[in-house]
Subunit: 306 residues, 2 copies
Amino acid sequence: MRIKKTDLLPIVNDLKEEELAGLIDHTKLKPHEPKTKMLALYDEAVRHNFASVCVNSCWAKTIKNYRKLNPSNVKLCCVVGFPLGQMSTEAKAFEASYVRKHGADEVDMVINIGKVREISSFSGRERGLARNYVLKDVREVVKASENAIVKVILETGYLLDEEIVEACKICEEAGADFVKTSTGFGPMGAYPHHLKLMRGVVGDRLGVKVAGGIRNFLDAIRSLYAAANTKELRTPSKFRIGTSAGINIVNTLGWAKYTDVWFVEEIPCKICPSNYTSKLPIKIRNHYIKKCRTCAEKEYRKFRDF
Amino acid sequence: MRIKKTDLLPIVNDLKEEELAGLIDHTKLKPHEPKTKMLALYDEAVRHNFASVCVNSCWAKTIKNYRKLNPSNVKLCCVVGFPLGQMSTEAKAFEASYVRKHGADEVDMVINIGKVREISSFSGRERGLARNYVLKDVREVVKASENAIVKVILETGYLLDEEIVEACKICEEAGADFVKTSTGFGPMGAYPHHLKLMRGVVGDRLGVKVAGGIRNFLDAIRSLYAAANTKELRTPSKFRIGTSAGINIVNTLGWAKYTDVWFVEEIPCKICPSNYTSKLPIKIRNHYIKKCRTCAEKEYRKFRDF
C-alpha cells in the first residue's frame, strides 16, 4: 500500500490538536514499571486531554483511587488476557469483571489467536467448534464487562488476511465495540494494510484501534488515513490510537501544518507487512512472500534491504 | 561466570537418559499454536517420558480430556498470569483455581515484576506495602492451586541481583515449591549466574526451574551445573528444565558420553547477563555495565562484539 504526501496533507490540515488528543489511549504496559510511573501516566493524560490511560489490570485499583483525588474526563482502560490471549474464557471473563468493578471504563481483550487460526486451517465439525470457541470467548468478556467499551485485539501479525476478516466478523457478532490491531508484544506492529482491511469489514458500525509500533506523528497520520479517512470516523467512539508516544504526536501537530518535514517519502515496502518476515509462523511467512512476488509496487523490492 | 569442560564432564557421565528426561517440562506457549500441535506435544512428552507438558490455560481442558484417552505419568503444567505477571492478584488466583479444577498438576505463575522492583526502589511504608503485595500475590495463587506444585517465575532479566534474592525469599515465605528464571518472552533468557544465585538463596528447600533460551544440550548441562550440582538436587522435585528443545537435548545425551564435540569453549561473556543490554530498563542496564567494568574475566571483553 503506497501512501503519498498528498493523501496525508488534507487530514493534517483538517485536524485540531484537541481532536487528535481525544483519539489517543495513553499506554504503559511493560511489566517492570513501578507505581510512580503509572500515576505519572495518568497525570500526563489529564494534562494533554487524552481519551484514556491504558494499563495492566493490577493497576486498576491504584488509578481508580488516584482519579478520585484528581478527577478528570480521562477514561481508565485495562487490558485482559494480555498479551497472549491464551487464558481460558472463564479466566478472561473474571479478569474483565474484576477491572470493571475496580473502575475500568474500557476493556482491551486479546482474542484467542490459536483458535482463530484453527478456523481457517480445520474443516467440518472442528472448524465450527473453533469458531464457536472464539465467539463465546469474546461474548463472555463483553458480558462480564457490563456496558464498558470492549476492544478486541486480533494480533494481526499472526493472522492471514482472510483470518483477520473472519475475526472482525466474529467480534461484531459477539457485540464488541472495537477491533484492535496488535498488542505491541507480538511479531509485528500495526500496518496501514491491516487497518484498511479491518475498516473495510466493520465499516462505521465498530471502531478500529491501532496499536503497536505507533512511535511518531507520521505513523499516527498514516493510521488515520488508512482507518479513519472521513471526518465522521475521527471520533473517540470510532477510532483510537494506542501509543506511549502520545505527547510527542500531539505536540508535533502544532507545527506540522506549517511545514512538511515530518513527512518522509518512504518506499512502500517499509509500511507493508510482507516486509516483516522474521518471527512469523511459517504459513504466514509463505503467504507474505507469495504476495510480495506479485506486488504492484515490486520495482521497489530491490531497495528492500533496510 | 566461567564454566569449563572439566566442570561439565562429570555431570554428563553421571547422568542417565531417563533421569534427564524426567527433569524436562516439555513446553509450548506461543499464542498461535492450534489444538493439533498441543496434542502432539503431549504425545511427544509421553514417548520420551518427560516430567510434564507446559501449556497456556486455555488448553488445560483439551489436554486433560486427551490424557483420559491416553493415560500416562506425564503431568499437566499450566501457566498463570503469563507472561507479564501484571494481572491483579484476584485474577491470578482465579486462573490458578480454574486450571487446578481442569486437571493441572502444576502451576507456573509470574510474579508481579513492577512490585518487586518497587521493594528495592521505595523506602519506609511504601516499601512494606510493595513487599506485602508481592507476598500476598504469591500466597493467594498457592492457596488457590490446592496442593499443586507452584513455580514462581521471577523474570530475572528485569531484576537486579538483590531483587532476585528478595523475590526468592518472598516465594519461600509464601509457600511456593519452585522459583523459575524467565518466561521466554522477557528481555533475556536464563543465565548460569542467576541460577547459581537463586540456588544459593533457596538451598535444597525449594526447587529451581530454568526456562527461556535453553535451546540445546550444552545450555541444559550448564544449567544443571549452576543450579543442581549434586545428585540429590537432580530430581524432578528440586530441578526442572523448561524448554521446547527437550527431544533434542535427551537424544544428544545418548552420544555425548562418547565424545565432547557438544562442548563449545565459549568466552565467559557469552553466558553472562551483562552481555545482554538492549531491551533492559535503564537501571538494570547501568547495573550490568558497572559490573562488567570490574569483572574478573575482563580480558575477554575485547571479543565482546558477537
